[in-house]
Amino acid sequence: MVGLSLGEKNFIKGGIAQDIRTDGRKRLTYRPIFVETGVIPQASGSARVKMGATDVIASVKAELGKPNASHPDKGKVSIYVDCSPTAEPTFEGRGGEELSMELSTALQRCLLGGKSGAGAGINLSSLSIVEGKVCWDIYIDGLVVSSDGNLLDALGAAIKAALSNTAVPKVQVAANASLDEQPEVDVSDEEFLQFDTTGVPVIITLTKVGKHYIVDATAEEESQMSSAVSISVNRQGRICGLTKRGGAGLDPSIILDMISVAKHVSEQLINKLDSEIAAAEACEEE
């Protein structure tokens, strides 16, 4: 981020205080969201999401694997985000590592639920094929192509879109397998199962600038933030995860206020995303 002059900083802060941001939006308005699905043919599912100049791609790959000993009846999901140097030269080499890790951890926290699997956006039990023996490993990879703020929300939306685009092959388990052996499985090339994404939450980041907070901050606005809270909310309006960025302290009552604002915003965002995803799917089928 190139440094802003004092005038520009005051302009951004003043605009936010008066509920008119530099691009004409209100504090709680998103930039137009553009969704494209099936962008990566090699993946089981993929999507590209653009919000203004922020451009991210998420891909989902399903592979057969062995479940963890501690959760034999569950599949595994791993989320990893890569910040490409094409987005920003500072991401080159190890430069993007810190941001990648921060985004990956935040996404895991927001999408994968508690340790017991409760509240997870993806039903891990549905990924089990043979208990304790075979399950699906879902690898979700995010790529930041171009960054202009609000990466986490965009990645969350891209992952939601990619998951609804994902088709997991049907698996036939050979019936004659004995108990101790690794059962033989037959992965179908023709029959696919659609992924259930109704429970996948959306992530809403509220960025605090001055006394107010805004959604979908651009990079310029983010450079002026004192702190930001990312809240993931599912369709039922329940909180599925929360992370805070930025060192400045926040009053607990402000956090509670942010949660209720996020719940309100999430309804619009979920509906908006659903229609965009449906449109993108329809477009792809044509």
Binding site: A69, S70, E102, L112, G113, S116, G119, T243, G247, L256
Partner: protein, 256 residues
């Protein structure tokens, strides 16, 4: 508690599968008892001391039940040559586990994640302008992992920073909470943490009443978050008082 012992197989091989199922039903039932017999909103007994490491500028040792943590603070000292020039001071945090900290040797993971969480929790409480261009290093070592490590590390690190004489806006106290079925339990032990449906951690500056870091995992309804936050904040302010009295004790008692 007694039931749990009789359920444990007599062989030396642990059988996690069968044990797990019984455990989780104990936790989520309505007439459950916490593994260490505490009340749901009762924190573990804690022990805090400053000045655990002589060589460091400041250090602290914290013990919460079975979780034992030692934190040393070095500096302010010259930043590494590769770093860019900065008017402000820098904070560098590192969390590591001893190889014997966990039941299975060397199992401790995510220490990189913990380091960045520690950094985020502390950074807002340090007056970085007071040591320009230099770095303060905070090294935390988990001697024994008994659940809720991160909150213990954070509270202990803030005590070590105060002991080192680093200028702070306020002390930083941190408490976590687990949601098991309908129950909310404060300051969970590892067993409870591994079966939790949701977790919430708050790091706050008790005297200024500001939250520096907060994470939530799992599914929560709004009233539950309100309740959990309130319980955590209460516990934080109590922990803050214990931390202050620990610091004052270190000043009034002559050092040997």
């Amino acid at each position: 508690m007694a039931g749990k012992i009789s359920n444990t197989p007599a062989t030396y091989m642990p059988s996690p599968t069968s044990q797990n199922k019984k455990m989780s039903s104990i936790f989520t039932g309505s007439d459950w008892v916490r593994p260490d017999g505490r009340g749901p909103h009762q924190c573990r007994p804690s022990f805090l001391r400053t000045g655990a490491v002589n060589y460091a500028s400041g250090s602290a040792y914290a013990e919460f039940g079975n979780t034992k943590v030692i934190v040393s603070v070095f500096g302010p000292r010259e930043s590494k040559k590769a770093m860019m020039y900065s008017d402000m001071g820098r904070l560098n945090c590192n969390v590591s586990y001893t190889s014997f900290a966990t039941p299975i040797r060397g199992q401790a993971s995510e220490s990189k994640d913990l380091s960045s969480m520690l950094h985020k929790a502390l950074e807002g409480a340090i007056i970085l302008e007071s040591f320009p261009k230099t770095t303060v290093d905070v090294f935390a070592l988990v001697l024994e992992s008994g659940g809720s490590e991160l909150p213990v590390i954070i509270s202990c690190a803030s005590l070590a920073l105060a002991d080192a004489g680093i200028m702070l806006y306020d002390m930083v106290a941190s408490v976590s909470m687990s949601c098991l079925g309908k129950n909310l339990v404060i300051d969970p032990v590892s067993e409870e943490e591994s079966y939790q449906d949701g977790g919430l951690m708050i790091t706050c500056m008790p005297s200024r009443n500001e939250v520096t870091q907060m994470t939530v995992t799992g599914e929560w309804s709004t009233p539950k978050i309100h309740e959990a936050m309130q319980l955590c904040l209460d516990a934080c302010s109590k922990l803050g008082k214990i931390m202050r009295s620990c610091l004052k004790e270190a000043v009034t008692l002559p050092q040997e």
